[in-house]
């Protein structure tokens, strides 16, 4: 390659990548999105939870029809007497786990969909099978739209959506606050309705936050002074209070910016109004046609084995 043509080449590559390049700068600044405190959510107080797992049982009973029916038996349970899921799964939308620091220091922790303010799962789903309800804020899954790409699983920072790996006709399983079952019938999700210890409270996010703040104020010794979910990952509607650092309970330490905020900004900068691709296509057509014309008038000089053409 001659120096001249090499530089030209790099130039055309730079033009092609210009749209992409510009996004790098745009992505650097990024504030947290707006939080809607009118949405519905849950407050889980780990210090009140007695680990009875009644919430798990009622969740399975109520939502049996939407994929979370199967009971999961532990290896030691030869007679299959207990439903003992070890984690969330294609059969389990909510699970109570135990964090044990020492024989006297331990805590239960609930795990289920966080119903993010800006859910990554909704942001990535190509066919709109994950949706966030505009008024309630509930993040819901529609198996009739889902193609099973599992991008939602990759995207969710909490690793909440689960896939039915062993089924011929699988689906994604995750909590939807009993949107079409218990909530529709009784106005409350089954877990919160069942909980005998008052560990799970259901309501508007603003009320839950006020309640949580109240508890933190009343008994500061009881809790770690933080409401998990208030800002984490752009804020979640499922909030946590606990006596141990949340990282120890298996909840990830997240920055206040939602991952979806960051990725959408970059993607939208590249594809703003589809201008960059259209401009790129136009330019390419123009250059290619021009080159073709030149080619035709030049009578195929490139066939000349000894010589090369270059502008």
């Amino acid at each position: 390659m001659r120096r001249q043509s090499r530089r030209d080449f790099l130039k055309s590559v730079a033009v092609a990548g210009a749209g992409v390049l510009s996004c790098g700068a745009a992505a650097a600044s990024s504030g947290p999105g707006k939080v809607n405190n009118e949405e519905l959510g849950l407050l889980y107080d780990a210090t009140r939870c007695v680990g009875c797992k009644a919430c798990m049982a009622s969740c399975k009973r109520v939502n049996a029809a939407s994929g979370s029916l199967a009971y999961e038996h532990a290896d030691w349970d030869k007679d299959e007497l207990w439903d003992a899921p070890q984690d969330l799964s294609g059969s389990t939308r909510t699970v109570i786990k135990l964090y044990k620091e020492s024989p006297t220091r331990w805590s239960y922790v609930q795990s289920s969909c966080m119903h993010c303010q800006k859910p990554a799962c909704v942001s990535v789903c190509p066919v709109g099978a994950m949706t966030k309800d505009k008024t309630t804020g509930i993040v819901e899954y529609d198996k009739n739209a889902c193609i099973g790409c599992r991008y939602c699983q990759v995207a969710c920072s909490f690793t909440i959506p689960r896939f039915q790996w062993e089924k011929t006709i699988p689906q994604i399983v995750k909590c939807d606050l009993c949107k079409n079952t218990n909530l529709a019938q009784k106005g409350i999700p089954a877990c919160a309705e069942t909980c005998p210890a008052g560990a799970l409270t259901f309501g508007k996010r603003k009320d839950l936050l006020a309640d949580a703040r109240q508890r933190l104020k009343e008994s500061p010794d009881r809790y770690v002074n933080r409401i998990y979910g208030e800002t984490e990952g752009g804020g979640t509607n499922h909030l946590y209070l606990a006596a141990y650092p949340f990282e120890k309970l298996g909840l990830p330490d997240l920055p206040p910016e939602a991952p979806a905020e960051f990725s959408e900004k970059i993607q939208h900068t590249i594809y703003k109004g589809f201008m960059a691709p259209v401009a790129l296509y136009g330019t390419l057509c123009f250059v290619a046609v021009k080159n073709m014309k030149k080619q035709d008038t030049d009578e195929h000089p490139e066939k000349d084995a000894g010589k090369r053409r270059d502008e």
Binding site: V20, V124, Y151, T159, F163, T168, P259, H268
Partner: protein
């Protein structure tokens, strides 16, 4: 392109070679396992889990395979945009490889999708979810596959025009003697096909340039978006790789991989089919590659410095080692190619292009799999069956390429036309492949 069809030729060689049967066997094993997957579920054949929902199929077949299939894209930029028509003879084999690469990426997606029967949603604009990077990738890849097919059509049409349909007739004979009892109508049918091809081809030639421009736009879009896919995994992807520059890095990465693959492919098929090496064209291509990879390497380093992650790159832990491997493979490959003399020998061309392809592919593995950490308790290593499905798909790809270059005018016309040389070439090709 008009007037360029004489640049290409069919490879005269046997189709049923030993390698044909080896590849066929691997393909069949793969297809059998795909059958198992559809009956028993994805979990029955893979080690995928809720923590690692994407494994080797997405990482290799889709994210890496389409980059390796970028030869057609990269060579098209050179020929039609940079107007280096001397590379034109390389374009058909590059487009053919791209076609296989993308076609089979599409096939593996269909194997990987849990609910493929719902994938018609990709064609319903009412179902589109505009924020999804995957939607953009999927639509672009589908459109590009169609574009590739159209770009390849001239080869098919000129074959239809010029061939005596001998192999086809033999095939029909072999298939079922009674099928060809009506020789008369078969002949008129053949004539009709031939004249139809002759009519379509010049028209297609005129419109082709706009298709080709589309064939450069679409990969530019979806290759950068393949990088954007992992932007969302901000807490799971290791900071060595999670950067706002992912789309740009993926774009440059696929172009230098594309040229390197075009070099490798030409050297391998020259060797396997005993054709002369196209050293002059190749060293020209090879002059571009290191510049691209140097830009890429500088963006990588600059970005690491900017984000203050340089220490992570040099810490020599698990992630750092994979990062350094990727980095050094690309860097060493480029260093070799900067040397003019080495660039002119097929051996060094081969070595350096292979290093760069390996390094570039490792980068994509790092982003999609190795640097991906969903948290405590999750591990992934592909199962044997999972690997064999990928092997089956790749075998099918090579198999198809091997057969098609023997049926259609794809490879550049050989410089030495002596019938003696060609016969010898064909005979050796039959043995070698």
């Amino acid at each position: 392109m008009a007037g360029h069809n004489d640049e290409f030729q069919r490879l005269d060689a046997r189709i049923f070679t030993p390698s044909f049967f080896v590849l066929l066997a691997l393909t069949l094993i793969g297809f059998f396992l795909v059958g198992v997957r559809y009956v028993k579920g994805i979990g029955a054949v893979t080690n995928l889990s809720d923590g690692f929902p994407w494994g080797i199929w997405i990482t290799y077949d889709v994210a890496t395979g389409t980059a390796i299939a970028c030869g057609g894209y990269a060579v098209a930029i050179l020929v039609y945009i940079r107007n280096h028509m001397r590379y034109h003879p390389m374009i058909r084999s590059a487009v053919l490889t791209s076609m296989f690469g993308y076609g089979l990426a599409g096939a593996s997606v269909m194997i990987d999708l849990g609910r493929p029967w719902n994938s018609y949603n990709f064609f319903l604009p009412s179902r589109w979810q505009g924020n999804s990077v995957m939607l953009e990738v999927a639509l672009c890849v589908m459109a590009y596959s169609m574009v590739l097919a159209i770009e390849f059509l001239p080869a098919l049409l000129s074959a239809m025009e010029n061939s005596d349909w001998g192999p086809f007739q033999n095939f029909v004979n072999w298939l079922h003697p009674r099928l060809v009892s009506d020789r008369e109508s078969l002949n008129t049918g053949k004539e009709w096909m031939r004249s139809a091809a002759a009519k379509i081809r010049p028209r297609l030639d005129k419109a082709l340039i706009f298709i080709i421009a589309l064939g450069i736009t679409l990969p530019t879009m979806h290759q950068s978006s393949l990088g954007s896919m992992l932007l969302i995994a901000s807490t799971k992807l290791h900071p060595l790789w999670h950067t706002a520059f992912l789309p740009l890095l993926f774009l440059i990465n696929c172009i230098y991989i594309g040229y390197s693959i075009a070099i490798l492919e030409s050297i391998i098929s020259s060797y396997a089919f005993n054709r002369p090496f196209e050293v002059r064209e190749l060293s020209g291509l090879a002059g571009i590659v290191p510049w691209l990879s140097v830009i890429w390497l500088s963006v990588v380093v600059g970005d690491l410095v900017w984000r203050g992650q340089l220490h992570a790159a040099l810490s020599l832990d698990f992630y750092s080692r994979f990062f350094l491997a990727e980095f050094l493979l690309v860097a060493v490959g480029s260093m070799i190619l900067f040397n003019k003399r080495m660039r002119r020998t097929p051996r060094w061309l081969f070595v350096s292009a292979a290093l760069i392809v390996l390094g570039g592919a490792l980068y994509r593995f790092n982003v999609y799999l190795i640097g991906f950490d969903p948290g405590k308790g999750w591990r992934y290593f592909p199962s044997l069956a999972e690997l064999m499905i990928t092997v089956g798909i790749v075998s099918f790809e090579i198999l198809g390429y091997q057969v098609l270059v023997k049926l259609l005018p794809v490879l550049p016309r050989m410089a030495r036309r002596g019938s003696h040389a060609r016969e010898r070439g064909a005979r050796l090709a039959g043995d070698a492949t």
